[in-house]
């Protein structure tokens, strides 16, 4: 598939990458100009529905400087990142372990799977009211929903990864009499690492979406709270700024995980 995609890319153009970058920059600039024209210049879109660039800039400076919804941008971002990363790390450590166990040991899988199938159709966001009932509006409730959200994808992808390891590798290790723990650390884990990372990416995404939702429902700080307060104040410029922050943070986290992945999977000639 990869090779196919590359030949496809190469068709027609001499330098497809440069052309794409050029078109992307042009599109985004055109969008920026259209935004300015539709709001500030002509007022076709009223500022009550969508903010103009100047108001958005002012809202961003307010968020960064004096602060909004109780604290400054740095405090909100630190709060959200602390929860999402903490919850994600805990859930993925747990999820990968359970996934390895389920992929490796059929009895464990048969034992755990039905319970898992029972809980899986409940979307993570549906746990939010229960988390608030149990743990209130503080950090603990957020961590609970993030852990639930991030746990499932890491378990599924890890166990699938173990199951789909090339049987030749497994048998070779067996035949050579590899002891259990070495088999675990040198065959099982490395061979399922690509699938594990697919799971981690999905986990991280789910964790971030769930945290933003949980903070929107109720929180004391965090970027979701900024969105919520801006909605109640009917402050479109602040809504847009907060959405921008949500997007940038989501992007940064994906980027970071991508770096970890290319480091961990360096042995693969990808």
């Amino acid at each position: 598939m990869q090779a196919f995609a590359e030949t496809w890319e190469g068709q027609g153009d001499m330098r497809p990458r440069m052309r794409r970058t050029f078109v992307a920059v042009t599109t985004l600039s055109a969008l920026g100009v259209a935004w300015f024209v539709l709001t500030t210049e002509t007022g076709l879109i009223s500022s009550g529905r969508f903010p103009d660039p100047a108001a958005t800039w002012a809202a961003m400076r307010q968020l960064a400087g004096p602060g909004y919804a109780g604290s400054t941008l740095v405090v909100h971002v630190a709060q959200s990142l602390k929860l999402v990363l903490g919850g994600f790390l805990f859930a993925s450590a747990l999820g990968v372990s359970v996934g390895l166990l389920m992929g490796w040991n059929r009895k464990a899988e048969a034992l755990i799977n039905p319970v898992f199938l029972l809980l899986r159709p409940i979307p993570p966001l549906a746990w939010i009211p229960l988390a608030i009932l149990w743990l209130g509006l503080g950090d603990a409730a957020k961590i609970m929903v993030i852990v639930i959200a991030a746990f499932v994808p890491s378990v599924i992808n890890t166990s699938t990864g173990v199951r789909t390891i090339d049987p030749t590798i497994v048998e070779a290790a067996r035949m050579l009499g590899t002891p259990h723990w070495r088999y675990m650390s040198e065959v099982l884990v490395p061979a399922s690492l690509p699938a594990i990372f697919t799971g981690l990416r999905l986990s991280l995404q789910a964790a971030w979406t769930t945290l933003v939702a949980a903070e929107l429902v109720g929180a004391l700080a965090g970027i979701g709270l900024v969105l919520n307060v801006a909605q109640q104040d009917i402050y479109p410029a602040m809504i847009l700024s907060a959405m921008f922050v949500v997007g940038v943070l989501g992007w940064l986290m994906t980027l970071l995980l991508g770096l970890v992945e290319s480091y961990a999977l360096g042995w693969r000639t990808a």
Binding site: L28, P129, L130, A213, A230, Q231, M243, G247
Partner: protein, 261 residues
Amino acid sequence: MEPRLQPLETIAYGAIGLVTFFAIWTIVVLSGAVPHTFLPLPTAILTRFTFLLTHSFAGATLPQHLLASIDRYLGGFLLAALVGVPLGLLMGWFRWLDDILSPIFDGLRFIAPIAWVPFAALWFGTGYGGPIMIIFAGAFSPCLINAHRGARFVNASLTEAASMLGTGHFRTITEVLLPASLPSIVAGLRVAAGLGWQSLVGAELIVAANGIGYMMVQGQANLQTSTVMAGMVSIGLVGFGMDRLLRLAERAVGKRLGRPA
């Protein structure tokens, strides 16, 4: 890898797992370690569920809340499919459209769908339009991405044969690209259905005056854990049912048209 288990063994282990799960739950509650208001017995949730089927809570019975949710859900999901799939096919066929729209969607992709809630409420209100926009935000990208990917990886000899025979753009898209990328599209619809359902629940938790999410928020406000958990059960059941339906569709399409790209 260990040898496969016998079917009977799988069932036996599964039963042990489930019984253990519910036994621990029951023992924890009966021992008084946690109060009933905090964690009700499994049977209490079932009782509450059947009670809500016929008795009104937060303005409506459970089936009425569910119907309100499903009504919104279908609206948002169909809108996402009707916009996302054709747009994805067009982007797969016309390179210039792909080049123009991809940077925009790449940027929007990182914004969690639920973060659209404030604008959705501001633009379309909290009744019907707002939640529909949230579902749309959740379900749109899998529809678009899978149609796009399906159309791009259509066997080049098919599209070349079509263009050699003088087939126009419109007919190439509807009669070559669409059927050839159908397996990928249906797979995308299944992912979209799950994400859309989850976005709807989120939207109803934050803004809505009826629906299953609203019922759960009211249950939470009244400290009725059993109502909240009955809501979770219904959400799970509906989500599970929809996923099964689309899985069947996926298999039917896959059988007729080969495996997805």
